[in-house]
């Protein structure tokens, strides 16, 4: 049964329905924003994690020119290694204008690590030498299906392949080969075939998984592998393009989401708090009457918490609907065009939803109950009298007679009221500032991204073309390339390595180490104060973000480890304001000075040419 007090409060709410509706809208938007973004992030994260688990994503990828049977067995017999398989990896191109490249993996036994997921057709039976399983995205982009024949290679090395199945693969959840920021399914794809189908290619890759219970660090495993396989490059998940890009994207979305949600939530909380406490203050005389009738403080406060409850419950429902069906669904729709996973749909709930509902409940019930309690400290008799105006009826402005005299009567009242309730004025100001800054934040983000891109391409990046060489090249090949580029105004040769950087307290970062000539003109570096800087004889440049992540400053020495295990020590020569990426840059002299153990032949060299 509804008590009279509840009935009264419900009618109060009905009378204030517009204010309540406004608060419900603000609160549900707050809930929707925070939980919607997180709903999307956790959906993708969970789906991807499940997929990694289910398809047994490798923990490490080892590259070596030739992997023999004994190499494989040696790796298998290392402690804590669960599974290891070798594969042949090569790129085959499709002739024609498309310039499409298939990254092809060949296995001599059924894949147990990075197991391809068959979507259509059949798996290979192990003996076919001209059949393959094709990347679903690539097949879609080229309108290929099971049973079609594709031709690869040029002239006499041309080969025809039967598409036996269409697959998805856990290594290619986000397939944007180096240099691409978004996938280009028309151009880059992958395929699986039998090892016997690629007789000229040696086994050159080992994928392995580590026992879950293993407590060996990444460094320890890498070292073990390197000791076993001389001259091998080892890549952990954190360097694997797809894994890294998915993880980075999710962190990015989450951070931006958190930033916006917090700003929005604070504003919403403030507005809600002010409105609810003002509604409570309007109840002053009614509280007095209730007290005079013998209602206890607890009964009154408890009932007025209904104010909060009746805001929280609709906000919760509305917020969830917006979060689930608008925000998360929208982001997910975009997300799954980039992430090649089994899209099972947005999960309905995450902890974040309950957290945000809890926040709303705390703010609304808190505001109602606290202002109720504050009022109830007064005696019933004084509650029944209207609130006496605050002391000091005169405000400072009144002393400035010429100004005050010029104000109209209503102007005087407005100014007085403005200054009389300082707390309320302050809250109002903060609310307005909060909302305005949210709007500005949106535009600002857009502007600063544009400004950053302008800065990146006007000031920092001076080159027009970047040529990446996949394989080590001889001097002749290089001069051939230089010849074809003879109209270029400037060419800078660079080397780029994936490295691990070890910072304070076990912090590991995995950027590229880019080595260039001291005289290079392709990149213009500026320190954080805006002064141009050039590569010194010693040490490297890092970005402020990298410095913060590693907890280092100018003058500190970092240790960089290449994927093959060689060590380079680099002093932080300067922190440069580099708007793109988080890489480490250094001059050739400093690089060769820093080498602590022999460096392999250039494993990745690229040319930067300015035209």
């Amino acid at each position: 049964m509804v008590t009279m007090l509840q009935k009264k409060i419900l009618r109060d709410i009905k009378e204030n329905r517009w204010a309540f509706l406004a608060i419900v809208c603000i609160c549900s938007l707050g809930i929707a924003l925070f939980s919607g973004i997180n709903l999307y992030v956790s959906t993708v994260k969970n789906e991807v994690a499940d997929y990694y688990e289910q398809a047994n994503l490798a923990d490490y990828w080892i590259y070596k020119v030739e992997v023999s049977d004994s190499d494989l067995n040696n790796i298998r017999s290392l402690t804590d290694i669960q599974e290891a398989q070798r594969r042949k990896v090569t790129d085959i191109s499709l002739p024609g204008a498309s310039g499409a490249v298939l990254h092809i993996h060949a296995v001599d036994e059924a894949a147990i690590i990075n197991v391809p997921e068959l979507l259509e057709g059949n798996l290979l039976d192990g003996s076919e030498t001209n059949a393959l399983l094709l990347d679903s995205r690539f097949a879609e982009a080229h309108d290929l299906s099971v049973g079609d024949i594709i031709t690869t290679g040029e002239s006499e090395r041309q080969k025809e392949w039967l598409i036996k199945g269409i697959i998805r693969d856990v290594e290619y959840v986000y397939y944007a080969p180096e240099g691409l920021t978004v996938p280009e399914y028309h151009k880059y794809g992958f395929a699986y075939t039998n090892a016997s189908a690629l007789p000229d290619v040696a086994f050159n890759e080992i994928v392995l998984t580590v026992h879950e219970a293993s407590n060996l660090s990444q460094e320890e495993i890498s070292n073990k592998v390197r000791k076993t396989l001389e001259g091998a490059n080892i890549l952990s998940r954190h360097h694997q393009t797809s894994y890294r890009k998915v993880a980075d994207a999710m962190t990015g979305v989450k951070q931006i989401g958190l930033l916006f949600s917090i700003a929005f939530f604070l504003t919403a909380a403030l507005v809600t708090w002010i409105t609810v406490s003002r509604m409570m203050e309007n109840q002053r005389q009614h509280l007095g009457t209730l007290r005079s009738l013998g209602y206890s403080k607890k009964e009154i406060t408890g009932r007025y918490a209904l104010f909060g409850g009746l805001i929280t419950i609709p906000s919760m429902i509305l917020g969830w609907v917006i979060a689930r069906y608008l925000i998360a669904e929208f982001l997910y729709g975009i997300g799954i065009t980039y992430y090649t996973i089994d899209a099972t749909g947005v999960t309905p709930f995450t902890l974040h939803f309950f957290l945000s509902v809890l926040c709303v409940a705390a703010v609304t019930c808190g505001a109602a109950m606290l202002s109720c309690r504050k009022l109830l400290k007064l005696t019933p008799a004084s509650l029944m009298r209207p609130k006496p105006p605050a002391h000091g009826h005169r405000i400072l402005l009144e002393r400035i007679t010429p100004f005050w005299r010029r104000l109209s009567f209503s102007g005087k009242i407005v100014t007085r009221n403005l200054f009389r309730n300082k707390a309320r004025m302050l809250m109002g100001l903060v609310g307005i500032i909060g909302s305005t800054s949210l709007i500005l934040c949106g535009f600002g983000l857009m502007n600063s991204i544009n400004a950053m891109l302008d800065k990146a391409f006007d000031e920092t990046v001076q080159y027009n073309v970047e040529i990446k060489l996949r394989t080590p090249s001889t001097g002749e090949q290089l001069s051939d390339i230089y010849d074809t580029l003879n109209s270029a105004r400037n060419i800078d040769a660079t080397m780029a390595f994936s490295v691990y950087l070890y910072g304070e307290d076990g912090n590991v970062q995995s950027p590229y180490l880019v080595v260039m000539d001291e005289g290079q003109k392709s990149l213009g570096f500026k320190d954080t104060k805006g002064n141009s800087v050039h590569f010194p004889e010693d040490g490297a440049f890092i970005t402020p973000r990298m410095a913060a992540a590693l907890g280092v400053d100018v003058g500190d020495t970092l240790t960089a480890q290449l994927l093959d295990g060689s060590i380079i020590s680099l002093e932080v020569a300067n922190i440069v304001d580099f708007p793109l990426g988080n890489e480490v840059y250094m001059g050739k002299t400093a690089f060769f000075k820093g080498i602590r153990s022999p460096v392999p032949g250039k494993n990745a060299a690229d040319k930067r040419a300015g035209a």
């Binding site: 007095g288 209730l290 005079s292 013998g294």
Partner: protein
């Protein structure tokens, strides 16, 4: 034995540096079953005295005994119980809840009592039986005052405090209301 004893009770209000003495060393006694009347000009302190007696305000000094218990030393919970079970208050300005009907206003008081009158009955006593579903804004001042009386008497209180209960009534209705009040005091006389 006297039921209500005011013993040297004073009430001061402090406004800035000025102290206003709303009640100055008031002493009186009212016996069980008696209908006591406080008379005085406007601003004399009548409302103040009733508020003190109803446990609505704290006395600055002095003792207020009800049934032998000093209410000036009661804590908040005891005072709440005192107002709930012992006191019925008719305020000078009625203080009805505007978004509850006459019957609901009475019901609001009834719901915290032990053996109350039904709202219809209480409203019947004050002659408002046919207006029970009207909101205060739909009633005249005098009718509102009578709803306030009905709200007070439905609690069947030990002590009925009425602040100018006939202030808004014409002579005839005023007389009726006073008769009702004295009837009630006789009928509900506690032994």
């Amino acid at each position: 034995m006297a039921d209500v004893i005011f013993d040297n009770v004073s009430k001061d209000y402090q406004i800035g540096e000025i102290t206003i003495q709303a009640a100055k060393k008031v002493s009186f006694q009212v016996r069980n079953g008696e209908l006591g009347i406080i008379l005085g000009p406007s601003g004399a302190g009548k409302t103040t005295v009733l508020n003190l007696l109803g446990g609505m305000e704290n006395a600055t000094s002095g003792k207020i005994l009800f049934d032998g218990k000093d209410i000036t030393v009661m804590n908040d919970l005891e005072l709440t119980d005192y107002r709930r079970y012992k006191i019925g208050f008719v305020f000078q300005f009625y203080n009805l809840i505007p978004n509850l009907t006459a019957a609901e206003n009475v019901e609001l008081a009834k719901q915290v009592c032990r053996s109350p009158l039904e709202p219809e009955e209480a409203l019947g006593i004050v002659g408002l039986k046919d207006r029970i579903h009207n909101f205060p804004a739909q009633l005249s001042g005098g009718e509102q005052q009578r709803v306030a009386i009905a709200r007070a008497i439905c609690k069947k209180p030990d002590l009925l405090l009425c602040d100018e209960p006939t202030g808004a009534l014409d002579t005839e209705t005023g007389k009726t209301v006073l008769r009702v009040l004295s009837d009630i005091s006789r009928k509900w006389e506690k032994r």
